[in-house]
């Protein structure tokens, strides 16, 4: 099942697109800058194209094929209604710069989405435009920086727990902050005392994920927030795990000043093999004035699109612009479709089911797998570590690859970094009881085989996948990032 590369089967003189005749015109206006060299882009006819991509697709695992328990990534069911809605011509075939009078429905949709987001989170406002979670972090942190500058202060430090997603420190550093890590206490949560010990007038913010990346709710979050605020700093909440608590608690009530929401996680816009995402950022009253352009202002119940600083009202101090146009409209439609479908009741139920399912897995595996932070309940993901296989010679990687042969996508491995050989399992609310039991059975079976000493078999896994283990070291050592015509010697191989 090796599918040839497009460049091995396509030809530059073949096309799968027919075009109408061009209108007769008065000559080129390219001004001598026309292309002089060939591009080297092979084409395929439509039947060949269909086969190429359908065959390739079948080498992927997918939610629609089976359990995809990637902790922290939230692979839940993607309703097809949402896809249909996003493709309505009134949404898919409108231009971001056509007159506002011709997109009243689009602006209304953005207004409605904003209403859902701020109501669920208990916040003041939302910046819709960020393109993904990390972009949302950037948005929130820039808003914090702008708010601090607006008070005439300069602060240079951002506190980030060691268990944080890599995007947190990367974002802080990107805009010039020094990142100071905060260690976790033995139970996997942040110790308010450690935070307080690091707070100073130079601290701009703390970036805290809650529920955290160990799958635990930071139970001292209010104390942390109070201390951060007392120090004149802001509280950035990484909302990657918001899906665990929708309808159960409002982040705004916990003292959070800014939080991005991964629409592609919590509200199920499809991941599509790595994107697109959408990362709207909800903002507290203190940060709302600094939301970037563009934004929707509601006047007399009607949405007004504000695109330029010149159109900002008094009290609106947008910090600038994060992207061209208005953000990920296609994702807004899908997310609102998801919210309307679930309703307040369904969203709360979904969070409860996600947490329930994770705890069910945790409880049913607790005799065979080691939980680094003991037997307390988790939120939406169950965390284990590789001491589960101590002495067997089997690593978390081996175990993960063996899961592939059982028909499952592996859980998230080696994250969070604070846990040795971490295995982070997130079933989401989309798995049926029957699927959960099958999954648990498979993991139990593997664990028993591991403990029985079948290390060789684990190291040889996967055997039943489209590829066996890939040599990542070789890929990185002499990178081949684009296809090149084989040399005669290579071709002769």
């Amino acid at each position: 099942i090796e599918e040839p590369l497009l460049f091995e089967v396509g030809r530059t003189d073949v096309t799968g697109v027919d075009l109408p005749e061009a209108p007769a015109t008065s000559g080129s206006r390219l001004g001598g800058l026309g292309r002089k060299s060939a591009i080297g882009l092979p084409g395929l006819t439509e039947p060949e194209t269909m086969r190429h991509y359908v065959r390739l697709s079948r080498q992927n695992h997918a939610i629609d094929l089976g359990t995809y328990p990637l902790g922290s990534c939230t692979m839940k069911h993607n309703p097809r209604l949402n896809e249909r809605m996003a493709r309505l011509p009134g949404f898919a075939d409108i231009h971001p710069l056509q007159p506002a009078s011709t997109v009243a429905g689009a602006l209304d949709l953005m207004k409605q989405l904003a209403h859902w987001l701020v109501t669920m989170t208990g916040m003041e406002a939302v910046a819709l435009s960020p393109k993904a979670g990390a972009h949302g972090e950037l948005c929130g942190m820039v808003a914090i920086k702008a708010a601090i500058e607006a008070r005439g202060e300069t602060r240079s430090v951002v506190l980030v727990p060691e268990s944080a997603h890599g995007t947190n420190p990367a974002t802080a550093a990107l805009i010039g902050y020094k990142v100071v890590p905060v260690p976790a206490r033995p139970d996997g949560t942040v110790d308010p005392a450690e935070v307080k010990a690091r707070l100073s007038p130079d601290v701009a913010a703390i970036m805290l994920t809650n529920p955290n990346t160990c799958g635990l709710f930071e139970r001292d979050v209010v104390e942390i927030a109070d201390a951060v605020h007392a120090a004149g700093a802001f509280f950035y909440g990484d909302g990657a795990n918001f899906n665990a608590i929708v309808g159960k608690v409002k982040p705004g009530d916990l003292g959070i000043d800014a939080m991005h929401i991964n629409l592609h996680k919590t509200f199920s816009t499809p991941h599509g093999g790595g994107g697109p995402g959408a990362g709207p950022v909800v903002l507290s009253k203190a940060l709302a004035p600094f939301a970037p352009l563009p934004f929707i202002r509601v006047e007399d119940g009607e949405p007004v699109l504000v695109e330029n600083e010149a159109d900002a009202a008094g009290g609106e101090h947008p910090f600038g612009r994060l992207t061209a146009f208005h953000g990920q409209m296609g994702m807004y439609v899908r997310a609102l479709s998801y919210m309307l479908s679930h309703g307040a009741d369904g969203l709360r139920q979904a969070s409860e089911d996600a947490v329930l399912s994770a705890n069910y897995i945790r409880a049913r595996l607790s005799d065979l797998f080691h939980a680094p932070f003991g037997g307390r309940p988790c939120m939406h993901e169950a965390l284990f570590d590789d001491s589960s296989f101590e002495g067997t010679g089997i690593t978390t990687l081996d175990f993960a690859k063996a899961m592939i042969d059982e028909g499952y996508h592996p859980m998230t491995m080696y994250f969070p970094l604070v846990v040795h050989g971490a295995m982070l399992i997130e079933p989401t609310e989309s798995e049926s009881r029957a699927h959960l039991d099958l999954f648990i059975g498979a993991l139990r079976d593997l664990a028993m085989r591991a403990k029985a000493g079948e290390a060789e078999a684990f190291r040889a896994a996967p055997q039943l996948a489209p590829r066996r283990r890939l040599d990542e070291t070789r890929a990185a050592r002499s990178p081949k990032l684009v296809w090149k015509e084989p040399t005669p010697a290579e071709a002769a191989e």
Binding site: L19, L56, K131, L174, P276, N308, F325, A344, P462
Partner: protein
Amino acid sequence: MRYLPLTDADRGDMLAAIGVSSVDDLFADIPADKRLDGLVDLPRAKSEMEVERTLSRLAARNVAAGSVPFFVGAGAYRHHVPASVDHLIQRSEFLTSYTPYQPEIAQGTLQVLFEFQTQVARLTGMEVANASMYDGSTGTAEAVLMAHRVTRRRKAVLAGGLHPHYREVVETLSRIAGDEVVALPADPTAGEDLLAAIDGTVSCVVVQTPSFYGHLIDLAAVAEKAHAAGALLIAVVTEVVSLGAVEAPGALGADIVVAEGQSIGNPLTFGGPYVGLFATRDKFVRQMPGRLCGETVDADGTRGFVLTLSTREQHIRRDKATSNICTNSGLCALAFSIHMTLLGETGLTRLAALNHAAACDLADRLAAVPGVTVLNDTFFNEFTIRVPGDAAAVVEKLAEKGVLGGVPVSRLEPGKPDLADLIVVAATETTTDDDRAAFATALAEVLA
């Protein structure tokens, strides 16, 4: 609830297996006084039929581009996407898969990315491309940051033909990061002296071609001056179809090429999601932002693909990463790659020629409207016209006549009187003779 497979009986059994008496016991870590007892103040669950009705009504309040003569561009372009593209990207195995972290069961996505990278590199005339950015504008900002890393300088020069939103995105990030940006004044006539702004303190020059106003820019001269000054040339392309007709920036000396890939494979969708193309030279690859897919072999020696060089990335390098980007535009990149595969060089070249011809035809028609001046000597499928009076009002009146006739420059450059009478107008292959004639007629009526 149609999306939730657990029944109440399941829930009861599972709680018992966990050893708690109610689901709220699992949420005990939430401070008691912050817990929500009931539902937040939002509507209850709706049937699929009701949701469809609600959203369809919202959609119906927008004027779909395909329902009128349509000439809006300025960074997003309406092109015809073959039905097979949308069919393929909806395959469950593409749509509902994640970032290919487990390459053994993600070769579909990975091979697509490898092919995408190769297509982008060839199209831009560069040696290497990444697996996509969010869009062209954020890619441009990332390119400026990359140029800072490469040159160890922190001052970017932005040409006056750069899309105003792109300029603002670069300015916003640079301001926050403490970097310097020299943005030349808006250049609707392609008359600026860009070379004069380049000196030994400059990290990079950012030039868009075709420019925001539609002019084709000769990059070779800029590249020469920039390289002499130790700076990089960042070429920006917002209409990627132009590369089927215009020389590749890589052939003219660009060091980084950033493009908005929406035109190929992706619908307008009110501005997003789109797909940023990002290409550079081999020697800069370790300074690149974003994911990269590379070729390798598996344990049997079979060719396969993996995400690679991830030591540049945030999930490994954290605060030392080349970018904070994580999720990118995978599915849009897939759509781009499929559409480009269908086109091939032959199709892309024809498509570009057809776009150019449509725009030439439109320029001739609009130039014949009394009071209208076409500012461009050169253009691809978009150009700028000057109209008597307020351009925004003209565009609004055209809309009332059922013609979406371009973008008033003042919408993106407010408060600049010298730009207030300009409209940027695009004509792609989706415009018909009738559409273009209707535009000219309507414009003549509006201006009469």
